[in-house]
Symmetry: C2
C-alpha cells in the first residue's frame, strides 16, 4: 500500500474514452497510479465480451504501467474467491470496464471483492470506472431509465452501488444519450446528492479532498439541488412532468474543477490546460 | 381593438399540441381571445403543407371561436399585401403554425404583416405560435442547431425573430429532440436573455406583466443565466465543450409560473390545476 495516509481517487468516466491518439483520461489514470511503477487490476464484469479485460490490460501496459491483472469475475462465487480478492491487496489502481451496471451490482454487490475495493480505496488505491463502471462507483447507482431532456416521474430506477462516495449520482454517455431528464429525476428523489452527467471521453477525477477535476474532450454537467425550494416529485404520477424549482447548473470542461463539499465550480486555470 | 390599455399575451407552444381529447392549450388560447366572440387570424407560412391553416381554422371554430381567417402568405409580396395586413386589425388573436422558422423570418421579417403583428400585440391582441411559430415570436430566434444535452461552441445559429419579447430565447420539441445543449449555447452567446425550453404539448402563456404560466402536458425548462460567474464561450473553438458556471435551472409543469422580471418561479398553486 503506497498511501496509507489518505483515500484514493474515485474516477468515473463517461464511456467511450479515447484509446488511440490523445489518450488523455487513461494516461492520467496510469500516471496517478504511479506511472512506471503502476500496478492495475481490471474488473471486466460489466462486459459480456470475453476480451474486454485483456484489451484494457494491453492498453495500460502500452501507457507504461508496470503490471496489470485481469479479474475474470462472471459469477458471484468468483467475487468471493480469494484468488480474485488477494490481487487487490497489491495494486495501486482498480479499473471497472463498461457494459451493464446491473451485472456489477448483482455479481459483485455484497461480496468480498466489493469489500476489498472499498477498503483499498479508503487506503489510497485509485478506483476508476467507465460507463457502467462509472455508474456503479457511487452509493446510489442509476440502474436504468428512460431518456429525454426533462425529468418525468419515476422514469429512473436507482440501485445500491459500490459506495465509494455518496456525494454524487453519476450518469454517463450524457450528451450522447440525452440523459439530463433521468439524472434530474434521480436527484429529485432525494436532493441530498449532487448530479454528475459525464459526456463520453470525459472523466471526473474526484480527490480525497472532494475536489473534482474534469479531464477529457466533453462536458461534465453538475446539477446541484441543494437550493431547491420546491419539488413535486412526491405527488406526480408515473411519466408525468416533474416540477423542480431552484436547481443550480454548471457545465464544466477540461481543467475545470468542482468542490463537492463547498459546491463551488471554477474554470480551468489557464488556456494551457485546454484539450 | 378590445384592449387598448395593455399588451396582449405572447404564447409560445412547444409543438405537437393536443388537437383531440384534452385540447388544453388551444382551448385556453381561444378563451383568452374572447371565447364565443373570438376572432383569430392564422398564419401558416412556416408550413409547406397547403391545408395547415385551414385545419387550425376548423379547430378554432370547433373550440368556439366566432371567426377565423387564414392568411396564405407564401411570398414576401403577400406579406406586404393590404389584403393580408388589414384582417389583422379586426382580430383578437393571431396564431402562427409550425413548420420551418426560417420560412417565417425570411418571408415575413421586415414586412407590413410583421409590423402589424407587433403593433397589434402591443395593443392587446394575443399572439401564439407553435413549434417554428414559437421560435419566431422572440427577438432572438434559434434558427437551427445541433442537438445533444450539453452545449458546444457555435452549434446554434440565431437569427432576428418577430421581436414580441427580447426577454427569452425559446426552443421547442425540447425533451423530444434533446435540445438543452443548443439552448445553453444560445444563452451563452449573451446571457442577458432567459432560456425557455418547451416540451411538446406545452405552452408558456406570457402575460403583459411578464408573468409566465405553464399550460400543457409536458415540462417547461427555464435556464436563467443572470448569475453566471464564468463562460468560456468566447475562447472555445467550434464543437468544443463550453464551460458555463452558475446557471439557475427550473423545471416547471402545468400551472407553475415564472416571472421574467423578478426571475422567480412558483409551483402550481393547487392540485386542482394539475393536468
Amino acid at each position: 500500500m503506497r498511501d496509507v495516509l489518505g483515500s484514493g481517487f474515485v474516477i468515473p468516466v463517461g464511456g467511450a474514452e479515447e484509446k488511440v491518439g490523445d489518450i488523455m483520461i487513461l494516461r492520467r489514470f496510469v500516471a496517478l497510479c504511479g506511472g512506471p511503477s503502476a500496478r492495475i487490476a481490471i474488473i471486466p464484469t460489466a462486459s459480456e465480451l470475453s476480451d474486454t479485460g485483456q484489451k484494457y490490460a494491453t492498453l495500460f501496459t502500452t501507457l507504461g504501467a508496470a503490471e496489470t491483472v485481469v479479474l475474470p469475475i462472471t459469477d458471484r462465487s468468483h467475487a468471493m474467491d480469494p484468488n480474485h480478492v488477494e490481487p487487490l491487496e497489491d495494486v495501486d489502481g482498480i479499473f471497472l470496464t463498461g457494459g451493464n451496471q446491473l451485472r456489477l451490482s448483482t455479481l459483485i454487490g455484497g461480496t468480498d471483492v466489493a469489500r476489498a475495493i472499498r477498503r483499498r480505496n479508503a487506503s489510497g488505491v485509485h478506483v476508476a470506472g467507465t460507463s457502467a463502471g462509472a455508474a456503479f462507483l457511487c452509493e446510489h447507482m442509476i440502474a436504468f431509465g428512460r431518456e429525454g431532456a426533462s425529468p418525468r416521474a419515476k422514469i429512473v430506477t436507482l440501485a445500491p452501488g459500490l459506495g465509494l462516495t455518496n456525494r454524487v449520482i453519476i450518469d454517463q454517455h450524457f450528451r450522447q444519450r440525452d440523459r439530463l431528464g433521468r439524472l434530474l429525476t434521480a436527484i429529485g428523489y432525494n436532493p441530498f446528492a449532487i448530479g454528475i452527467g459525464l459526456d463520453e471521453n470525459t472523466a471526473a477525477f474526484i480527490g480525497p479532498d472532494n475536489n473534482l477535476e474534469v479531464v477529457g474532450g466533453g462536458s461534465l454537467t453538475v446539477v446541484d439541488p441543494s437550493e431547491i425550494t420546491f419539488s413535486s416529485m412526491a405527488r406526480v404520477r408515473k411519466n408525468d412532468p416533474v416540477c423542480l424549482i431552484g436547481l443550480r447548473l454548471h457545465i464544466l470542461d477540461h481543467g475545470s474543477t468542482y468542490n463537492l463539499h463547498t459546491r463551488e465550480a471554477a474554470p480551468a486555470p489557464a488556456i494551457a490546460l485546454r484539450v
